[in-house]
């Protein structure tokens, strides 16, 4: 398994969901195939958060919800310097959290 981020596509109705569920929110079917989540989209909302969880040594973290062009929405870290609502971004994979020895990989957004 690579470090890609995966959602699921319902084997019955074809709905793509991210994150994964055990049951399709659209049709209640229970079998799926993995689909890679990512691509281009636009910033739906963002924040600079100073109230951080443990394991972050930065002063603040810039988080965003991005709506990808395929309609899927994702939460991740926005690396751009001057964010605006609606700005075009694309996803990249990077280390989003350091948990002990483990560097957790996830979605980050940069200007498209």
């Amino acid at each position: 398994m690579s470090d890609n981020v995966y959602g699921m596509k319902c084997n019955s109705c074809g709905t793509v969901s991210y994150p994964k569920h055990a049951v399709c929110p659209n049709c209640r079917n229970e079998t799926f195939i993995d689909v890679v989540i990512g691509g281009e989209g636009k910033v739906l909302t963002f924040t600079d958060v100073y109230a951080l969880a443990i394991e972050y040594e930065t002063r603040y973290l810039r988080l965003a919800i991005v709506e990808l062009d395929d309609g899927i929405r994702v939460t991740g870290q926005l690396l751009d310097g001057e964010p605006k609502l609606g700005m075009r971004v694309k996803t990249v994979l990077g280390t989003v959290r350091q948990s002990g020895e483990t560097a957790i990989q996830g979605l980050q957004f940069v200007s498209a």
Partner: protein, 393 residues
Amino acid sequence: MNPVYIAGAGMTRFGRSEWSLMQLASVASLAALHHANLGDIPVDGVVVANMGAARMNRQTALGSALVDQLALYPAAAESVENGPASGASAFKVGVQAIASGMADVVLITGVERMRVVNGLEGTDFVSSLSHPEAEYIYGVTLPALAGMFARLFMDKFGVERKHLAMVAIKNHANAAKNPYAHIQQTVTMEGILTLPEAAVNNPPIAEPLHMFDCCPVSDGGASLVLVSETVAAKIGGPKVRVAGIGQATDTHTVHEREDPTDLKSVRIAAGIAFDRAGLTPQDVDVAELHDAFTILEIAESEASGFFPRGEGHKALERGETQLDGTLPINPSGGLKAKGHPVGATGVAQLVELTWQLRGECDARQVKDAKVAYACNFGGFGNNVVASVLQREA
């Protein structure tokens, strides 16, 4: 469903406390038990609302521990957790115990002791309610979710930072009249927004939210005594009836919601609660809303049905939600200024409303309050409990 009454309500002062978790729980419980004046009628059940003791206080099985503190054996006991809505969930569980006929007297005690860990650890703990793979690993915290929600909501409906400040100013003013509140200091628009020093007084927490948009981290306990109709008749005194409870869940991640600014779970929970009560939002005389962040008071006041969507900030601006307005919201000071010991919060909202319905709130008493409403907001809106209480003549 058998009718259920709130016979007693009590709490500790919220704030930083030197008391142990069990002392906070015991003091609140005894205050409620004394208030209820049960005499020799035994307590059948104890439900503790708590979110963080296992991690922050290294203690579990709080229901049994509280029974032991209060020497209530062999009363049934357990703990209920539903994130920041743990309090109202525990209340619902207690109500169902009585409504089912399996209990006559149930003590509900919400408690949290958070100041024992540092801020990072506390923030991280609460963020453990977010989605483990799609939110938590990114450093998502509750303030972050609130900041993203606020930015979108404000953009959509023309809400400005001054409106958020109005919520804070109102709730701090109310808390200054509440001896149980964590923060009893009033704030002004100048001090937190318009003067140059406001930037220092009121630093950003999760843009566009600043420090005075966020509730403090508090220790505290709050308790209710629930009784059946038979017991309510036996003990006499003012009758506060649980008119209706509604609960609704939504997607775990905020991003999966069709409209992330729509508090659908609040809308559904409030709808169920009012339906069961046979009442409408227009019947409500006083409300406690879950203002962990100022923006939430505005959004919940709409989703609960008090104001049309996008107009909560206008009602606020018109003063309608002030203590002397047409619908006073958060007379206690709210989470914003009364404080937010997570597990205790939902219980404390109902403690305030019980006191309001009994006319026991002194300087912050809402006149002639007969119907009261509480919204306890769990997760970031993925699990909401709405409650309607009614004073019987």
